[in-house]
């Protein structure tokens, strides 16, 4: 992909080549917080590519969005955060995706080789590979611009391998900025996505903030006991405060399936930033709670503060009717607060 400018055609930047390769593999979701070293990827993804950019409100949240997306769609989201502290914040989400076998491609700028030898003095220096070695399924390092495409293929092959999981690709960040023709790049051999890994075929996906909520009596009251309870999905690592991110990822990965995430009031209040992101992604977001419960007023106020719809649940209502309401098209993502 070269680009025409006032001064003639110019070779693509490494970031443009990376996005081109990723799109050629059929991936379409970039989950990324801003940082100087990831800006070339943002710039490239905005130049007519099919990538959708989701900007979460923390790197950890972005990782859980990607985990949910991978499970729901069978395709990896691309997570690109800035080096150093950005990568540090991804840790628990990488571990969670590893446990749930969710395919995720963590595409991360890293310091060039000559700086990696003295990271203590380097601004935002962190040894990514060492830090992540316990939790990532695999890690690939690209220091050579000519190997960019093959490194992406290798990392994607790992993420969509057997079993699927999160794979990290560290790219020496100057490669993203520099223009270079694709010399001897590997011909594309498209790596096929997997079928949905979570709740395949379900008309409504039930997600739990953590696995202990599967015992909640609320599920029966709202018609989500039985089959939905058995098929309920949750992040690989119980992670209070990350369930809504996970559920948003499920919704983005399966846009035709409404998602209900069950959480606690504490869990909801920890995730109001995700609600803001969900609204900006035009996901129909609803907060729900039994209208007689102790948490109802606060949940209603939280809905008002974040622009979510408020759905008070009549405790005397028919579970079947309540479940139907969750499945209506206007309710893309419902946060059901147990309390």
């Amino acid at each position: 992909m070269s680009r025409r400018t006032l001064f003639g055609r110019v070779a693509p930047t490494g970031a443009e080549r990376a996005i081109e390769r990723i799109v050629a593999h059929g991936l379409d979701l970039l989950v990324s917080l801003p940082g100087t070293q990831v800006l070339p990827l943002w710039d490239a993804s905005d130049r007519g590519s099919a990538m959708r950019l989701v900007v979460p409100r923390s790197e950890r949240s972005g990782g859980f969005i990607a985990e949910g997306y991978g499970l729901a769609s069978g395709r990896p989201a691309v997570v690109a955060n800035t080096l150093g502290p950005g990568v540090a914040n991804e840790l628990v989400a990488v571990a969670s995706a590893n446990r749930s076998n969710s395919p995720v491609l963590y595409l991360t700028p890293c310091q060039p080789q000559r700086k990696r030898a003295r990271l203590d003095e380097v601004f935002q220096g962190l040894d990514h590979a060492s830090y992540m070695s316990g939790v990532a399924r695999d890690q690939v390092l690209c220091d050579d611009s000519d190997a960019l495409e093959s490194s992406i293929d290798q990392a994607l092959g790992g993420a969509l391998g057997e079993p699927t999981g999160p794979v990290r690709l560290d790219v020496s960040f100057p490669i993203f900025f520099r223009r270079s023709p694709r010399l001897g790049s590997t011909p594309l051999r498209k790596i096929p996505s997997r079928p949905p890994l979570a709740a395949p075929g379900a008309d409504l996906i039930l997600a739990l903030e953590d696995s202990s909520l599967s015992d909640s009596l609320l599920l029966d009251r709202v018609g989500l006991g039985g089959g939905p309870r058995r098929r309920a999905v949750h992040p690989g690592i119980d992670s209070p405060g990350s369930g809504l991110s996970f559920a948003l990822g499920l919704r983005l990965g399966r846009p035709r399936s409404p998602v209900v995430i069950v959480t606690t009031l504490e869990g909801l209040l920890a995730q109001l930033g995700v609600a803001v992101v969900a609204n900006s992604q035009r996901v129909g977001l609803t907060f729900a709670a039994l209208e007689t419960s102790a948490v109802a007023t606060t949940v209603r106020d939280a809905a008002s503060a974040t622009g979510a719809a408020w759905m008070p649940i009549d405790p005397a209502g028919s579970p079947k009717d309540i479940r139907s309401a969750f499945g209506s098209r206007s309710k893309g993502l419902t946060v059901l607060v147990d309390g």
């Binding site: 950019l53 409100r57 540090a88 840790l91 003295r118 380097v122 830090y131 992540m132 690592i237 106020d301």
Partner: protein, 572 residues
């Protein structure tokens, strides 16, 4: 020799944890284990004393490791205890090792005090691994006994090389344009009087590193008293600071890591060309210093002072006065820029930051972050106690750090400034602050954007501001859900009223949503941006020129404000 540390008195060691770990070891409960690590980090930064964070299980240990990374960047004395066993330990161990400088495995033995203190002296943070919750409670109890004995001045058995000191002195004495760079290690552990005396005798301006700028509050007060007004101490990241480092013919770096953020080690923008003599107690390899001397910074300063008094001072006439004048000019320019907002009745970030700093009671500890809000705060909170991550310039930690500071320095007000982009990282900890009745004041600089990144897009990406606009969020409503008092201000007049309220005593946190203008460019921090793009600066040169032209056409007010200050300072 007296230590320059904040205090040697025995004080309780603050300990933070989330969930079960907090209950088991009687720690201050935070909502999240990463926030607990930030709280311990904040406590250590503000007090200069060691602090503890504890976590149990895989998920919380990983979160704790993520928080430790920021503490590691600035070598904060945090001891982290993780209760893990079997396969979970194997998953978490690499992250815990990378996020710390020493790991002590206490799964089958008790903590050995000397080993723990020596590990802290060699380089914090330190991780202690235990096998279960009982071990966690025992280890935290033991640390509460051991750590009050620790001070930043502890040498942990490190030997001083007297011969190396003597060998380093002649080259320094030859300098005609000397600059003393004081790093966090020297600011917290050395004899500040000795360093101040050296600066006077040598006629050398003193540059503080970013991490030294956030020295413990008590130490800062000693520092101000030792250096008095006639010595030019130059604020990190400002034009006079950069000018001094650029024009020096010799830099004496005391207790500094010679970080890229302090202009060292950059390949594309090598501002510091002078040879560097580095004095550190525990030298680690660096590719920058000409000479590294393993010695205490205060002892070395005293030795060099003796050498200068004996052999004569060769410093050029007017060298130090030039920086006294430059510092005054800088202060005036920055003040004038804030005043411009006041005259035009516009709530600019410069005006908001200046008024916040001016209104804060004496002794207030300010907490900042690595984004634009932190740069604004740093522009005005000069030589006031300021806690801010330097090496990692992290965002999202300040509310949790405020919780730690409130615990470690309970008599000091804590005023936090963070950006709207960072608010949600640790917003849930507002509930923890409210529950404990911590009267912290939190100012959210609400400019509806990731402003520091927009600045990079403005300077290098031809103002293509993709993804950096944030939706309009009413932070007042959100903070009320966490049990805080709240205010929203949009004008200088409303800001003044909010600051009056902030000065009043209260029993819960106050969150002020400060609606500031979008797109303003901070006056400090060019060194941080250049450190971020070091390696591609030449690649970006053409794009930067074009971007600047586009910005000059479209962002005139923001650029003009910045250029007024920068150009004014450069002229001096």
């Amino acid at each position: 020799m007296e230590s320059g540390s904040a205090s040697n008195q025995i004080v309780p060691v603050p300990c933070f944890a989330a969930g079960t770990a907090a209950t088991e070891c009687g720690a201050i409960e935070m909502r999240d284990a990463q926030a607990a690590a930030h709280a311990a980090d904040g406590a250590a930064r503000a007090s200069g004393r060691a602090a503890v964070v504890a976590a149990a299980g895989l998920a919380d240990s990983l979160r704790m490791a993520a928080g430790l990374v920021t503490a590691r960047g600035d070598r904060q004395p945090v001891v982290a205890v993780a209760a893990l066993g079997g396969p979970e330990l194997e998953l978490a161990r690499p992250a815990l090792e990378t996020a710390s400088r020493a790991v002590i495995d206490c799964r089958s033995s008790a903590i050995e005090p000397d080993g723990c203190l020596a590990a802290l002296a060699l380089g914090p943070p330190v991780v202690v691994i235990v096998s279960n919750l009982v071990g966690l409670a025992t280890a935290v109890g033991r640390l509460r006994e051991i750590l009050p004995d620790w001070s930043p001045a502890d040498r942990g058995g490190l030997e001083v090389d007297e011969e190396a000191i003597l060998e380093a002195l002649p080259a320094l004495r030859e300098s005609k344009r000397p600059v003393i760079l004081v790093g966090h290690g020297a600011a917290t552990a050395a004899d500040l009087e000795a360093i101040a005396t050296l600066a006077r005798v040598w006629q050398a301006p003193v540059c503080l590193t970013f991490s030294a700028t956030s020295m413990p509050a008590g130490t800062l007060e000693q520092f101000r008293s030792a250096f008095a007004v006639e010595l030019p101490i130059l604020p990190a990241g400002t034009v006079p600071w950069s000018t001094a480092l650029a024009r020096a013919d010799r830099v004496l770096a005391l207790g500094s890591g010679l970080s890229e953020a302090d202009w060292f080690g950059l390949s594309d923008a090598r501002l510091v060309r002078a040879p560097v003599t580095r004095v550190v107690l525990a030298p680690d390899p660096d590719g920058v210093a000409e000479t590294t001397v393993p010695a205490d910074a205060g002892d070395f300063a005293a030795a060099l002072t003796n050498e200068l008094e004996r052999g004569g001072v060769l410093t050029r006439d007017g060298w130090i006065e030039r920086f006294s004048e430059a510092r005054s000019t800088w202060t005036e320019l920055v003040d004038q820029e804030a005043e411009r907002g006041a005259r035009e009745d516009r709530l600019t970030p410069a005006l908001a930051a200046r008024e916040i700093v001016a209104a804060a009671p004496a002794g207030t500890v300010f907490v900042g972050e690595g984004g634009a809000s932190g740069m604004w705060l740093a522009s005005y909170a000069w030589l006031r106690p300021l806690v801010m991550p330097a090496q990692h310039a992290s965002i999202g930690a300040s509310i949790a750090m405020a919780a730690g500071i409130a615990e470690a320095e309970p008599t000091r007000p804590v005023w936090t400034v963070l950006g709207d982009g960072a608010f949600f990282y640790c917003a849930r900890e507002l509930s923890a602050l409210a529950e404990r009745g911590v009267p912290a004041v939190v100012f959210v600089f609400d400019d509806r954007s990731w402003n520091a990144i927009r600045l990079v897009q403005t300077l290098f990406f031809k103002r293509r501001t993709i993804g950096t606009d944030l939706p309009d969020v009413d932070f007042r409503n959100l903070a009320e859900l966490h049990g805080c008092e709240t205010l929203r201000v949009r004008t200088p007049g409303e800001m003044a009223m909010a600051l009056s309220l902030a000065q009043e005593s209260r029993t819960k946190p106050l969150v002020v949503d400060v609606r500031i203008e979008k797109g303003a460019i901070p006056f400090v921090g060019a060194n941080l941006i250049l450190a971020e793009v070091d390696g591609v600066l030449r690649t970006l040169a053409g794009s930067a020129a074009l971007s600047s032209a586009v910005a000059a056409a479209k962002d005139r007010p923001a650029l003009a404000a910045n250029l007024r200050v920068i150009a004014g300072a450069v002229r001096k």
